[in-house]
């Protein structure tokens, strides 16, 4: 017995030695998750006030992170539709990664909302019993629930052949679990045959696309419906949310694909590489469209006397560094130039840097949009200010770390690497 334990420990140590970088990465993420756990425990023991302390600016870090993650996840849903709905076969090779990344981004975005709510346990109950159809949050919740279900099913259909192959080579309990997951017992039933039909895959992809894009538009409407928040109000943000979500989705996808291949042993296949450069070009174009949106917003906002005050907060007030430095320079202008240059030079490093800039700028943009939107109007004289607390930062780092941990494990164990676009579920299962 002792000898067996010794042998297993030896094997584990050897595998850790082989994948040193991977285990260091996991340990760092776990350490940040522990910090997040500490902050959450402290908020339960003391008061929720230590997480989001401001009464006058009640939506802050958590909501910004929620918007950032969920919008990027929805953007990936739209990118996924290029392959699944619009028939661009070269996008299908990244199908598994896009679906899994989208699913994890939205799930961890939802986690931010759960941590933000006073009573998250009541949400599913009363959203089902007494939904308010006049409320954008209610619609957004319903649409995202539908989207998660569809994208989950889509991912399942994509990884089912892999699970089936694994079940053939595994033994014991793992084999039993894999057999249950692949629905082997129901092989000849109507439902399984339906799931194996490639058209079903396309229908689910279309439904996921419709639910995702509607949910994203509704996410913009959550802010845009608030007539008393002049910065958010109006039809501008639901449309801008879609554009910004797609460029965030592209940036996430390119970064994750490059990181996966750089840290792994396989070099990037040439078709994936050409797709990365194509995506970088589309990303540059979308960023240019985004600049156009921002310019229109500023122009129309400054002409409207009601919206001048909150807009000037961004242009020439306490948020000016974030706006000009991050939203305009880091998120919009520099990446466009870098990405175009990178595609000419065929440089992965430059594409990676451009995408990273987009993500950093987009996070600051979301944070500023949420916080600055609540400054006007406020009841007492003088503008309220907001800076995140240390505990809030711990929780946000924890959310990002959990997302990265789950994504890393998914990339490792769900074999999300590029697949042949011509695969058909029933062919690979036979």
């Amino acid at each position: 017995m002792i000898q067996r334990i010794k042998n297993r420990t030896q094997l584990a140590l050897e595998s850790m030695e082989e994948e040193k970088g991977f285990y260091i990465w996991i340990t760092c993420l776990l350490a940040l998750i522990l910090l997040c756990g500490f902050a959450l425990l402290a908020s339960i023991v003391t008061s929720m006030e230590i997480l989001e302390f401001s009464i006058k600016i009640p939506w802050a870090g958590m909501i910004s992170t929620y918007v950032f993650l969920v919008a990027a996840g929805s953007g990936l849903c739209i990118i996924n539709a290029l392959g699944a709905v619009f028939g661009m076969h070269r996008y299908e090779i990244l199908g598994k990664r896009i679906a899994f990344l989208s699913l994890t981004l939205i799930v961890f975005g939802m986690l931010c909302i759960v941590l933000h709510l006073g009573h998250p346990e009541r949400m599913p109950i009363y959203n089902a019993i007494s939904p308010n159809f006049r409320s954008a949050i209610s619609w957004m919740g319903a649409l995202y629930s539908g989207y998660l279900a569809f994208v989950g099913l889509e991912l399942y259909l994509l990884i089912r052949p892999d699970l089936f192959k694994q079940s053939l080579v595994s033994t014991g309990h793992i084999k039993t679990i894999l057999k249950i997951l692949t629905l082997e017992k129901f092989k000849n039933t109507f439902i399984v045959k339906l799931l194996e039909n490639p058209k079903c895959h396309q229908v689910i992809g279309t439904l996921a696309f419709l639910a995702g894009i509607s949910a994203l538009s509704m996410l913009g409407s959550v802010f845009a419906h608030s007539e008393s928040r002049t910065l958010w109000y109006g039809p501008y943000y639901p449309a801008y949310f879609i554009v910004s979500a797609i460029f965030c989705g592209y940036a996430f996808l390119i970064i994750m694909t490059i990181i996966f291949h750089k840290t792994g042993e396989d070099p990037i296949p040439s078709d994936v590489l050409s797709l990365i450069f194509e995506m970088a070009q589309v990303l540059a174009l979308l960023l240019a469209v985004g600049v156009l949106f921002i310019t229109c917003r500023i122009a129309f906002g400054l002409l409207n006397p009601i919206q001048q005050g909150p807009l000037l907060l961004l242009l020439n007030g306490p948020f000016k560094i974030g706006f000009w430095g991050f939203e305009i320079l880091l998120m919009s202008i520099l990446p466009v130039l870098i990405l175009l240059w990178a595609t000419r030079k065929q440089s992965q490093t430059l594409v990676f840097s451009g995408c990273l800039m987009v993500l950093i700028g987009a996070f600051v943009m979301r944070y500023q949009f949420v916080v600055a939107g609540q400054i006007f109007p406020n009841i007492t004289e003088g503008l309220p200010s907001y800076l995140p607390t240390l505990m809030e930062i711990f929780v946000l780092l924890g959310v990002f770390s959990t997302f990265l941990l789950v994504y890393t494990l998914g990339e490792k164990y769900l074999s999300l690497k590029e697949t042949d676009p011509s695969f058909l579920p029933e062919k690979s299962m036979s």
Partner: protein, 295 residues
């Protein structure tokens, strides 16, 4: 053979008559309900800043009492424990004009907060009180964002949003006024049917023979709380609220439709992008990829 219609002439006339009468009946019911709605008057000319209203509110609603809350010049903000506040404010245009402002939920006739609550936890009762069901509230704070007066505040201890309920729970116990109105020693607060309260406010302003402003008649589409101010709300350091219903359903539909229009344009752009960059035969794409791989 003549085809039989699913509805005969008599039925059609009946339905038509019903359809024309139904809205009228609805309007009559609405009008009757409007006269039954209660309102609260806050007369800032009469208020002496004793803050007994705040104290009475806390006693009745079982809220936490702060040590120095009755200090007249202390500025207090609304929060989960302060549903009613009284603060000294001066007119921006005439600094010598200083009055105590009684501030609480305005009990809008078309409450924006009720329209955005995702779980329908906020309701406007038949008597005009806008009430949050604390057992249903999920604590999302969307009501605070929607409220034009920024009144509903999050209680970090109870983890729900709370605000003045117009003491709706006192009436079944045969109390005739909310706790704050009953506690006011100088008659600065009054309670009654909204129409009577508006008339009372106009009478008081007329009797004063001073310039003044009655807030709540048209603000946010009309509110249950009527405040008699010495100047316009924005001059007294209060939020300037548009004189129309906030967050109208039609407005929400318009904005949402704008979003969906944007989504449709994006979908069309994707369709064009896929059409422009794709070969008519998908196998050509695949062959190209294969040849690139071989190279």
């Amino acid at each position: 053979m003549k085809k039989k219609l699913f509805i005969n002439r008599r039925k059609f006339i009946k339905v038509l008559a019903g359809l024309s009468v139904a809205p009228t009946l609805g309007l009559t019911q609405y009008a009757a309900a409007d006269t039954k709605q209660f309102g609260k008057l806050a007369d800032t000319f009469k208020c002496i800043g004793c803050k007994r209203c705040m104290s009475a509110c806390k006693r009745w609603n079982d809220l936490e009492v702060e040590r120095d809350e009755l200090v007249s010049d202390k500025d207090t903000d609304l929060n989960g424990n302060n549903w009613v506040v009284v603060n000294l404010r001066s007119d921006k245009k005439n600094k010598t004009q200083r009055n105590y402002m009684h501030w609480a939920c305005q009990h809008c006739q078309s409450p924006a907060c009720a329209g955005v609550c995702p779980v329908s936890a906020i309701k406007r009762l038949d008597n005009g009180a806008v009430v949050i069901n604390e057992k249903k509230c999920i604590g999302c704070r969307y009501c605070f964002q929607a409220c034009p007066f920024k009144v509903p505040r999050f209680d970090f201890e109870k983890r729900v949003t709370r605000k003045c309920t117009l003491c709706y729970n006192r009436f079944p116990l045969n109390y005739k006024k909310p706790a704050c109105v009953a506690a006011c020693p100088v008659g600065a607060l009054a309670f009654g049917y909204r129409q009577d309260i508006i008339r009372e406010a106009q009478k008081r302003l007329h009797d004063l023979k001073k310039p003044g402003y009655i807030m709540g008649i048209k603000e946010a589409g009309g509110t249950g709380m009527i405040t008699l101010l010495p100047a316009k709300p924005e001059d007294m350091g209060l939020i300037q609220v548009p004189k129309k219903i906030i967050n109208q359903n039609l407005d929400k539909v318009r904005i949402t439709a704008g979003g969906f229009l944007g989504a449709s344009i994006i979908a069309y752009a994707m369709y064009l992008y896929s059409g422009m960059t794709q070969n008519p035969d998908p196998n050509i794409d695949k062959e190209n990829n294969d040849s690139t791989n071989q190279k």
